[in-house]
């Protein structure tokens, strides 16, 4: 019924005896107390709000049992900023008003943080394709795509964004 597991979340080791049926998302939220990872659709695995990274790869934590994550390294939204410095995507989301209600943001950021790591140059089509597994009920996809483009877009637009960020505020 229960099993002893050890999961590293954002660099911190959690050793617990958990029911086998406990979902990874519930381990993250209820055992580790990291509530930045959200639960949206609750079971079909269609909304992507619970997306976290397992060993650096984006997965839906509602479609995994906590026991399956035994020995793995998890990164959640709480671990995306390093030493208080926002991930470039987080900053871009802020700059482009891509959060809106914020419910889907954590899942999108954890999915796309992996996407931008492996896809430096991406067209808008590729960016939208990468977002298929994440639903935004505010339907604010235009702002979300704008923000992602700033980090994962063609080199020209990255350059422009970078220059914009370098300019002193007037």
């Amino acid at each position: 019924m229960k099993k002893d597991i050890s999961i590293t979340i954002n660099g911190e080791i959690y050793e617990q005896s958990v029911p086998i049926r406990l979902l990874l998302v519930d381990f993250i939220r209820d055992v580790a107390g990291l509530t930045g990872t959200h639960v949206g659709c609750t079971f079909e695995g269609v909304c992507g709000a619970c997306t976290v990274q397992v060993d650096g790869e984006a997965v839906k934590s509602c479609l995994m049992l906590a026991v399956q994550a035994d020995g793995h390294k998890i990164t959640t939204i709480e671990g995306l900023a390093v030493n208080g410095k926002l991930h470039p995507l987080q900053k871009a989301f802020n700059d482009h008003h891509a959060l809106q209600c914020g419910f889907c943001s954590a899942g999108i950021l954890m999915n796309i943080a992996e996407f931008v790591r492996t896809n430096r140059k991406s067209s808008d089509d590729e960016i939208r394709n990468a977002l298929i597994g994440n639903l935004c009920r505010c339907t604010g996809y235009a702002h979300i795509v704008d923000a992602i483009r700033e980090v994962a877009g063609e080199p020209a637009s990255i350059g422009a964004a970078h220059r914009r960020n370098q300019e002193p505020t007037r």
Binding site: R21, F43, L63, L65, N129
Partner: protein, 295 residues
């Protein structure tokens, strides 16, 4: 939604260990691969396994091997790895077409070819694709090994020839004889959705460039994935540039396929989808069958 109580969980590191664990756990025991379908069913309590045997750490089930043109895809190989493997291009490119559009990035990061075939969901892409490209499945149990052609293994939706105590260890593809190409395409209500219909075509071209062997497989059917053999026959002797003969074969394939009406498409509309998709994948498969003399 929350799973019912699960009594035991094993994470073996070899096929032998996995088979032993199954023998010990007995009834209501399930193997779990990537879990992208199975976890939905467990959470919805469509199934309530008492024991789970997780195959994620069985290294021998993972990876794609090439030997003199033949391909062996470990059952636990994920969609993301199939989608990225350019060595499949040409004869087995349909696998990449299918794998690169299953679900979404997150699903492709965990979902596996073996898991999809064992679940055989009505709208899954791997079943018709594997039938189309002429794949076989290697199965292992405590009592022995056997190999089944995909079309023998895959039965009605959610049904396969696998015994409860059998593990699918690999999907194997015979070395293509000459110029072969394949393609898969699906149509769903939104981009990359579970398809209403999906069609896979495999074309082998002779020295004169004409089709010598064809396989067409259709998914999204209440009967389970099926070959459209009258459509295949209509392709024999057809050349890549003969658009009207290709269209005719596609129409024949659709006309001879038994389709159902459901909330996504009525039977007649499904036939239109199959005809259109078949024309497109046959055309792509011809174009991809350029290895050797036609390159």
């Amino acid at each position: 939604m929350y799973p019912a109580v699960i009594d035991s969980y094993d994470a073996p590191t070899s096929v032998q260990e996995a088979l032993q664990a199954f023998a010990q756990r007995g009834n209501d025991c399930h193997f779990i691969a990537g879990g992208q379908s199975l976890m939905q069913a467990i959470k919805a309590r469509v199934i309530s396994p008492k024991s789970l045997i997780d195959l994620q750490h069985v290294a021998e089930l993972n990876g794609i091997e090439y030997k003199q043109g033949a391909v062996r895809i470990g059952a636990m190989t994920r969609y993301r790895d199939i989608a990225a493997d350019e060595r499949l291009d040409g004869a087995f490119q349909a696998l990449r077409d299918a794998a690169s559009h299953v679900g979404d990035r997150q699903v492709r990061n965990r979902g596996t070819i073996g898991g999809s075939l064992c679940w055989n969901y009505i709208a899954a892409c791997m079943p018709p694709t594997c039938i189309g490209i002429g794949a076989s499945l290697d199965l292992v149990s405590k009592t022995g090994k056997r190999s089944l052609r995909a079309e023998e293994f895959l039965q009605g939706p959610l049904e396969t020839a696998r015994g409860d105590d059998e593990i699918v260890v690999a999907v194997t593809l015979p070395a293509p004889r000459q110029s072969c190409g394949s393609a898969y395409k699906k149509w769903g209500l939104v981009t990359d959705a579970l398809p209403v219909a999906g069609v896979c075509a495999f074309i082998e071209r002779g020295d004169d460039g004409r089709c010598e062997l064809a396989r067409l497989a259709v998914g999204g059917l209440a009967t389970g994935p099926r070959r459209a053999k009258t459509g295949e026959k209509a392709l024999i002797g057809v050349s890549a540039t003969d658009a009207s003969a290709i269209s005719e074969a596609a129409e024949t394939a659709a006309a001879s396929t038994e389709t159902q009406s459901d909330m996504w498409a009525d039977a007649e509309y499904r036939k239109r989808l199959i005809a259109t998709l078949a024309r497109q994948v046959i055309t792509s498969a011809f174009a991809r069958a350029t290895r050797g003399k036609h390159s």
